[in-house]
């Protein structure tokens, strides 16, 4: 099913330059991108870059998820903390990672830690906000059940708050996975830490349009793969949730 959608996209990208809808010097047909990709795929540098990107992305995403979930639950579950931190969060959240680049470089130079900082900073908020909304979604009767049996705070988190917030967390994961990937690539591109982004940048400054899009396709496919994985996890972890229940039944 999803294959059909992607095939449609491929067809459009192939046809648009061929029919002159866009100039193929600026957007080459899909086949040219694939040819360039094949060429890239033959180099060790490409695979090395891919690995670097995946590594930086995974590290950043993991840190952001962990911090976002833990802090989200802490802040969300304690109304007082939430009220106290609201304005601070709102202040920090819209500060773009790109504005932080000089500071990141100042702290960590141009190696991957600078990029990691940007990735974590940008991805963290996505998770945090989702968790905050998720925590708020706890059914009052479920919460009272937990309270009446005097569940310890940690048990309440584990058995009531976490499962309720889980659908939100999954969405947060999907959002932050993409943002992390974007910032990883952007960081590599601007700061020059190793990875696919740097390859993209080199292709751009070299005017190698097809190569550039070939790399972009790889980035896009990483995004698609992440989503497939997220959906698979979701089908297992949210088996009880109405959204999965219904679709499993039909």
């Amino acid at each position: 099913m999803g294959g059909i959608g992607l095939a449609g996209l491929v067809a459009v990208v192939e046809a648009a330059p061929r029919t002159g809808l866009v100039d193929e010097r600026y957007l080459p047909p899909f086949s040219a991108m694939v040819a360039a990709l094949a060429e890239q795929g033959a180099t060790a540098e490409f695979w090395q870059s891919l690995l670097e990107t995946l590594r930086g992305w995974a590290a950043g995403l993991t840190i952001a998820m962990a911090a976002g979930v833990v802090l989200g639950i802490l802040i969300g579950a304690v109304p007082l903390v939430r009220a106290a931190l609201n304005s601070t969060i709102e202040f920090l959240r819209p500060i773009p990672s790109v504005a932080l680049i000089p500071l990141a470089v100042l702290l960590f130079g141009t190696d991957m830690r600078s990029t990691l900082l940007l990735v974590v900073y940008a991805a963290f908020w996505q998770v945090l906000v989702q968790v905050l909304y998720g925590v708020q979604d706890v059914d009052p009767v479920a919460r009272e059940t937990a309270r009446s049996y005097r569940f310890r705070p940690l048990t309440q988190v584990r058995t009531v708050i976490w499962p309720t917030a889980l659908p939100y967390v999954m969405t947060g994961f999907r959002l932050s996975a993409a943002v992390a990937l974007i910032l990883e690539i952007t960081g590599e591109l601007i700061i020059g830490s190793p990875g696919l982004g740097k390859q993209i940048a080199v292709a751009q400054t070299s005017g190698a349009v097809a190569s550039m899009y070939a790399l972009v396709i790889v980035v896009g496919l990483i995004g698609v793969a992440v989503n497939v994985a997220a959906r698979a996890i979701e089908r297992r972890a949210l088996r009880w949730h109405p959204s999965i229940r219904r679709e499993a039944a039909s």
């Binding site: 099913m1 059909i4 609201n86 709102e90 819209p94 773009p96 990672s97 500071l103 909304y133 919460r143």
Partner: protein, 268 residues
């Protein structure tokens, strides 16, 4: 807790709210202030110096020339993104088949970084305001879209059955069931989109811009006007706070039923 007398309670709780609202920011600003007080680091100027340049940086012409155009583009992009995200998200959330078809394509585009996406957008949208609005849309739409999809999918089955059994027409089912039911989660997405919108407002002004907050910040950054750059970052944060306050006001109105429902049994 419950025995506070109502009049006194109002004053006390208002004072408490203000205290809660300001305590942490005041502490943080104080910490920043003292930590940088004798800073000689070029990139970490004293906060006093930053505060000193704030007014002249932003309120001597730049407000109208840079801040307002940015906010206008942000508003346009944000509204389009929310409309698009809710519309598309409702369709995708209601139809597993459509979701299967479109999701991979959307996920593909979602992973493309703006520095790569923007040149493509420029091929179709030129380099004017339209392009910048489009850049904002291209980033803001995702949290709204994803959350709408999930919110629609998660609708209560009994409510769904109720609507079906009364043969509610497509339109009213959409308005009275689907959108309202998904609205808490849509709000989560719209909230996310707000700050992402501000970020993309900055990013969009890195391309072919000649005015705007983001443009100005980048110019400061490149010309090593570091205190001014910091004022820009602070301005973004303040814009974030202001917009989120507006957002929360609207959200509290639209989701009054939800807060009531969720809180109803915490303290009646």
């Amino acid at each position: 807790m419950a025995s506070l007398d109502p009049q006194g309670g109002g004053v006390v709780s208002a004072a408490r709210r203000i205290l809660l609202l300001l305590a942490v920011p005041v502490l943080l600003v104080a910490a920043w202030w003292t930590a940088t007080a004798d800073s000689t680091n070029f990139f970490w100027p004293p906060l006093s110096q930053i505060a000193g340049t704030f007014g002249e940086t932003w309120f001597t012409g730049r407000f109208a020339d840079d801040v307002l155009p940015s906010l206008a583009r942000l508003l346009a992009g944000y509204l389009v993104a929310v409309a698009l995200g809710v519309g598309l998200g409702t369709a995708i959330g209601s139809s597993p088949a459509l979701r299967g078809l479109l999701e991979p394509v959307l996920e593909f585009f979602r992973a493309i970084p703006p520095p790569v996406l923007v040149p493509i957008l420029m091929l179709f949208a030129g380099i004017g305001n339209g392009m910048k609005v489009l850049v904002i849309v291209s980033g803001c739409v995702w949290p709204v879209l994803l959350n709408t999809v999930e919110g629609v999918r998660a609708l209560d089955e009994v409510l769904r059955d109720t609507a079906r059994s009364y043969r509610m027409r497509r339109r009213s089912r959409l308005i009275h069931l689907v959108l309202r039911g998904a609205s808490p989660q849509i709000a989560a997405g719209a909230r996310q989109a707000l700050s992402i919108g501000i970020i993309l407002m900055v990013i969009s002004e890195m391309f072919a811009a000649s005015n705007g907050v983001g443009f100005t910040i980048i110019q400061f950054q490149r010309s090593f006007a570091i205190p001014q750059m910091w004022t820009g970052i602070i301005l973004l944060g303040l814009i974030g706070i202001a917009l989120s306050m507006i957002f929360r006001w609207a959200e509290a109105r639209l989701l009054r039923w939800y807060t009531g429902l969720r809180m109803s049994q915490r303290e009646g």
